[in-house]
Amino acid sequence: MTQKLVVVGAGMASGRMLEHLIDGQPGDWDVTLFNAEPRGNYNRIMLSPVLAGDKTYEEIVTHDDDWYATRGVTCRFGEKVAGIDRAAKTVMAANGDVLPYDKLVLATGSNPFIIPLPGHDLGGVIAYRDLEDTERMMALAPGQKAVVIGGGLLGLEAAAGMAARGVEVTVVHIMGHLMERQLDEAAGFLLRRALMQKNITVLCSANSKEIVGENGQVRALVLDDGTELPCDLLVMAVGIRPNTALAQSAGLAVGRGIQVDDQMRTSDADVFAVGECVEHDGALFGLVAPLYDQAKVLAQTLMGEQAAFVQKSLSTKLKVTGCDLFSAGDFADGAGREDIVFRDPARGVYKRLVLEGNMVRGAVFYGDTADSSWFFGLIKDETDISEMRDTLIFGPAYQGGSAVDPMAAVAALPDDAEICGCNGVCKGQIVEAINGGAGDLGAVRAKTKASASCGTCTGLVEQVLALTLGDEFKMPAAQPVCGCTDLTHEEVRRLIKSQRLTSMAAVHQELGWKTSCGCHVCRPALNYYLLADWPLEYKDDPQSRFINERKHANIQKDGTFSVVPRMWGGMTTPNELRAIADAAEKYKVPTVHVTGGQRIDLLGVKGEDLPYIWADLNKAGLVSGHAYSKGLRTVKTCVGKEHCRFGTQDSSGLGIKLEKKLWGSWTPHKVKLAVSGCPRNCAEATCKDIGVVCVDSGYQIGVAGAAGMDVKETERLADVATEEEAIELATAFMQLYRENAKYLDRPYKWVAKVGLDWVKERVVHDLAERKRLVEAFELSQSIYRKDPWAEHARERAETYQPMADLTLEAAE
């Protein structure tokens, strides 16, 4: 006897289910198929190749009219189902027809999620879901502009498809890297780079604020930082939600999706659900593989066979030409989990396996995905890999070989990569010199000048020697930054510049970092190097900073903080002192101390109070004193000729000018200045990082002093006649130090390495270089010369509070 089967929704899951059912029991079922879209089943995941022009719509149709006709399926396409009467076992079509069913299958799929931004209902704002959306994108002409919100799988495929048609595409992604659910940060970086090369602009950590229009038509997307991205079409690809409206109105059990058991049965024994609309064991489904599994299980259930749907590991591939990436399984870090990472910077290859015990749990591949199915098999089958662990990452074809070369990063550099920045020497010239007989560092230096100036590329030159000469060259042992890399600080700095690495993920990838996201030693150093070298491109990462610099206050041994407002040049006013006294009382500051740098230190402030005490101090005009920073700390002065009978110049005035110029800048280690009004040196300028001693004829500028673990007198950089020159030289020296020193080397240690003559050549004698240094410093200051206290008090005060207070609940 034939049974009446009504199927609501003609998507990929229901299409596959009907194939199994009709092939298995031909003639047993009288099928009616409803679909809201005016067409039958097509392969929705192939819309991206259609968009990109690689396929036509006709090629992705899976079931044509003929298929339904020969199998006796009654098609009601373009018709919605208005309701279900479960007691009577009927469905009602939108036109009022009532159809009885023996079994009912809900395959209502999902709806794209539209962010309710202001303007989301303007014309030209679409999702990426069906053929209509695809056709809207295909209708754009070359040179028109599109914005895609969402840097996940679908959003990137939409972006790449439109870009391939000559459309100017910008992708706006709220997270820090692309496809964060499938990729780790390093693979996300490589993907972003590949998309940028396809002329797609990619903005990560970008928050959309509103969509603005003109005559009801979208004109631009505005971000919360005010950036306006003009567009003719705006595509939202930020996720999908199961379409459960019909099931809900029929009174079926619905959570996030329509809840089904292992047999795909809903809370009603004669009603089933399949595909993206279902929730199984708390999980939702968006990829095609589990949907096909569900379709098969459902067909078997309907045919009276035993079957159960089991959730499996999933893998993802991005369908964008030229971006080979693959991710599968669970690649989160964890206790007992270990990473095997392989990076080949020159080929742009990144492979990461996550192991737990003797099994592979997850995999992320970029650039070379040839073996991905083999690795996916290892994950699914939980294969014991202990026997092949040493060579696992090389894939199934591995036939013996040597261990990964620690010098791979240098080996991978092309011949025209600059090794020595001071003298403009490329790798190729060094290799040429070595092949021409230069057998050691001294000979290479003599012949090419490489590493003959500041010397920070010495390690790289030695690596080129070792690579070219092989065993003939003995590498001197160098101290790497930390356990995450074999490279030294100097090598990392050099490579960040020469390879134009502008993000943390770029450094980790291109320099072959051995951990997924560094450690507490390398992250602050890399954060400094990146922001010093790329002030505009790199965004400071507070999470890579030590707590003092993250919270703009000095942590004390009891977890409280100290607050030191800036007193320019050590000068203050009754008004400022009153504000400090008031704040000390209001916030019950237990200790008030006068520092050696002519500042007042409020010790013992609670972390929660910081934004409020700052706001109070701000009101009196006081700003952060940066007493916590690897940056400009203080400029100490004596009162000079304005008051002192021995004073030769306006030393406090110069001190204030210097401090206003240099404050807020980040440096490899702290920097302290002083200006004394005469050689009696009351401001103790001759043991500072930069110290100016005023004399009748002008200003003596000393650098590289120390009065800490080491005590050292400054060395004379130059004598100048005017305040302007004094400020210019101090600024140029700061910038040269910022650009070249190792993180946590004070200026005296750095000058000892490069030599004062090398510094003088650039800061004093080479006027073009001095000008460049001053300009580079000013460029950086355009970002960093501002009061972080005001910004935090204004915008981030809540982050200083506990996230939740459970003490009240517990008391109840």
């Binding site: 820090g176 964060e180 780790d184 940060e185 690649f331 989160a332 870090d333 964890g334 206790a335 951990t515 997924s516 996201c517 560094g518 450690c519 507490h520 992250r523 602050p524 507070p542 999470q543 890579s544 900073r545 030590f546 707590i547 993250r550 919270k551 942590i555 041994k557 009891d558 977890g559 972390g607 982050t799 506990p802 996230m803 939740a804 207070d805 459970l806 003490t807 609940e809 517990a810 008391a811």
Partner: protein
């Protein structure tokens, strides 16, 4: 039994960062790692009581801001040569919300 309570949005915790939650028996640090997992640990370092919520988070570890002891967020155990551990508490993320187990936090105050 568990009694999951919502303490806030995952977005309230910076990635590779932490926030404090006050309880009657002192603060618990709730960490968010680079891969968006959350972990809850006693905020006080067993060495000198340093606030772990202020530390640098790397992988599934945190470094104490006072003297650089490193703790596993999974187990609460000190890593490397240092010896000691901090209590850990069940924590999870559901639909973008961070949940802690109130029963275990209460058990801690009773202990």
């Amino acid at each position: 039994m568990t009694n999951w309570i919502d303490i806030g949005s995952l977005d309230d915790i910076p990635r590779r960062g932490a926030r404090k939650v006050k309880t009657v028996m002192g603060c618990v640090a709730v960490f968010r790692t680079g891969d968006d997992r959350v972990f809850a640990l006693d905020n006080a370092c067993p060495h000198k009581g340093g606030p772990l919520a202020e530390g640098i988070v790397h992988g599934h570890s945190v470094t104490c801001p006072l003297h650089n002891w490193v703790f596993s967020l999974e187990t609460g155990m000190a890593q490397g040569a240092d010896e000691g551990s901090v209590a850990t508490f069940p924590a999870r993320v559901e639909a973008g919300r961070v949940l802690l187990d109130a029963e275990r936090l209460a058990a801690r105050s009773a202990a």
